[in-house]
Symmetry: C2
């Protein structure tokens, strides 16, 4: 039976699908003009957006929101200006659409081209972060796709205000407003409907915590790009240079806490553990990082009289994405043991080896089956901005379609053009 929410969400998705061809026809200059006008409108109407946000914040405060979540939800005029800047950044990026990916002339004279085309309608499901609303809408527009946005009911008023500003700019440019539609008003039931809107929505991208992502992956009939939880590993190999390893590990763990490319498990080769572990533990302790260490690591750290807070690792520690000042630490017998540990516990996001041995580096890069595999670099570089994509939609931890940091190109599709002169198949 069709509920009012079902009807409303399917109508929204259908409206987006019907609006999208108008966008597909625009050239880059026209799309960029709209993006810059959206940025201007956001700055002009920042007061309105901040006022709407204040309503969300009041409700969130009344409900006792956690400080971290409140900070992600809160907007002021400065933050709105920063959000507007994201749209100008999107305008400055090259247009992915129209790229000829490959092409040839066949033996029979048929001309063959694979070209990059818009995905169509992109569904985004994320948590109460109003900046994602604008970012996702802007990147989708640049990539020629309509978006259906579901940003968490805690941000309902903020998102409604932001989407209202963007839609008014679309209308002012004679574009269908339904290129950007929000379904926050329909709550979790709205997400359920969106996940079943096969044929109306071309891809669904969940961004947020592990629970949200799993719910979408397990229930969606629409194809999903899974973005990821990062149970990220660094292996300090036997041949690692401690002078290089220590700053990398500290950077990977503490340069920014609570992000998916932050370090979560440190593996140390037995041959270097006695030397390296105390050196690593000292700055981690200073940064307030608690170590969840296996027996071997605890023994070494205790013998060295470490200042770090060390607790025994439990079985769960090897699979926990802390997103906090916590770090799992294990001593591994050799490279094979490290690879086996990673194979068992990695979420396939990012792993890095610190080594001076060419063969170890080669094997690690070849054998670790993750989206991003590094040598002698901090896992914090696993990021669309750092990779030079100019924008990041998320980091895919699945193997289909896109793997690793996703930029504009990763939210496009392709099609084949075949031009003949009366060709029939013999």
């Amino acid at each position: 039976m069709e509920t009012p929410v079902t009807a409303a969400v399917l109508d929204a998705a259908r409206a987006a699908k019907e609006a999208q061809p108008a966008l597909a026809r625009l050239h880059r200059a026209e799309k960029d003009r709209v993006l810059r006008a959206m940025a201007d409108a956001l700055v002009d109407r920042a007061g309105e957006v901040v006022a709407a946000n204040a309503r969300d914040l009041a409700a969130a405060d009344a409900a006792g929101i956690a400080p971290g979540l409140r900070d992600r939800l809160a907007l002021d005029e400065e933050r709105v200006a920063a959000i507007a800047e994201q749209l100008r950044d999107a305008a400055a990026l090259p247009d992915p659409i129209g790229e000829v990916i490959r092409g040839s002339m066949l033996d029979n004279g048929l001309e063959l081209r694979e070209v990059r085309v818009p995905m169509g309608v992109i569904g985004m499901v994320y948590e109460a972060r109003p900046n994602v609303t604008v970012d996702a809408a802007g990147l989708a527009l640049k990539a020629g796709s309509a978006v259906v946005l579901r940003g968490g009911s805690a941000a309902l008023h903020s998102n409604t205000a932001l989407i209202g500003v963007l839609r008014s700019v679309l209308a002012a440019h004679d574009l269908p407003e339904d290129l950007i539609v929000g379904i926050d008003a329909h709550g979790r039931e709205g997400v359920d409907v969106l996940m079943r809107a096969r044929g109306l929505v071309d891809v669904l991208i969940p961004r947020g915590g592990a629970g949200l992502i799993r719910r979408v992956v397990e229930n969606s009939l629409v194809p999903v790009i899974e973005t990821g939880t990062g149970k990220t590993h660094i292996l300090v190999d036997a041949s690692a240079d401690p002078a290089q390893a220590v700053p990398i590990v500290v950077n990977a763990k503490t340069q920014r806490i609570g992000v998916c490319n932050a370090l979560e498990t440190l593996l140390v080769h037995r041959e270097i553990a006695e030397e390296a572990l105390p050196l690593l533990a000292a700055p981690l302790a200073e940064a307030g990082v608690r170590l969840h260490a296996d027996d071997a690591a605890r023994e070494i750290l205790a013998a060295a009289g470490t200042a770090a807070e060390v607790v025994p690792a439990t079985a769960e520690d090897w699979d926990t994405e802390y997103l906090a000042r916590e770090l799992a630490v294990a001593v591994v017998e050799d490279l094979d043991a490290a690879l086996a540990h990673i194979r068992t516990h990695s979420t396939g996001h990012t792993e890095s080896i610190l080594t001076r041995d060419l063969r170890s580096q080669q094997r690690f890069l070849a054998e670790v089956d993750s989206a991003v595999v590094m040598a002698n670099a901090s896992t914090r570089f696993s990021d669309g901005g750092e990779f030079g994509f100019g924008a990041e939609i998320g980091i895919s931890t699945q193997k289909l379609h896109a793997r690793g940091p996703m930029g504009l190109r990763e939210i496009t599709a392709s099609k084949w053009l075949v031009v003949g002169q009366g060709h029939v198949r013999p």
Copy 2:
């Protein structure tokens, strides 16, 4: 609760996953040697395979199998030799693995490379066609992936014999036999388990009728590449050259019946309909094609005294993939009406415009949102072999990961390699 089938299928998938790294380490020359040895073994042991097939055929005959399906199931020594030849063809193809897709050195000196890697474990669900068993196993092996094969219980003995031959060759080359596993013995329940084997199977590719594909798409938790039903359209534009249009339409409809790239709906521009329709109908009538025509087309054909069998088109005709000597025919007012018809009724497989007008061709190629969009060529060219891929796993009608004919490259994944010299993120 875990049933015996669940346990058996999950064990099979797990065994394939554990076997796969051994394959990932092989270089092209080694993989090709195994493929050629498999071809030799199939020829040597063809008698065994044909005997197993006879058991399937006897059961199928007793169950009253349709002649077309029986023909797809039947093997003799000559067909086994042809199947072996597919493996030699796979050996002759370039290795997709290891290709550097893109790469750069970042401003900070980090070396970045996106490289092509094996998918991991590929699940194939298809109907009783033993040749697909060998073809899928061979292409997966070439692409570095293990396969879990479910080929339809009607082909159980044939597939078991074929897989037995292939596995014995793996063993003879010191490779794990579980790189190729069959789950035909577990019936439809086995497919249900396979569809839920997330984490063990990286991608599921259904090949077969619309019912099979829909069942997999709607129920799979494992990412699916949807291969396609083709409700394929040709538009004979106002400016088409009838001397070119007639052979293309006849070729698209009759060169091979029952394939997904065969023509299913013919749209004729009103301005040329009176001239072109009778010319098109004559050779179609000769080929025994029945026309399901709309009122306007029927009127023109009746006035011309056509020899073709013409029946009134029903609403279902516009959405039916006949795979038979039947063709839907409609007169369209103009290019916009044709594009709207295609937008509503196409399955996104292949459409072609026959025209001499540059603007019509440009609009058709740009605006039709299908995997393959053609001008002045028969839809029968929408094929991996014709595109020069050397092999075809199927034709994707979805937008994610692969669109259109899929070759070896489309059953691979990628990963990012990042090499630094002690890089930390500022």
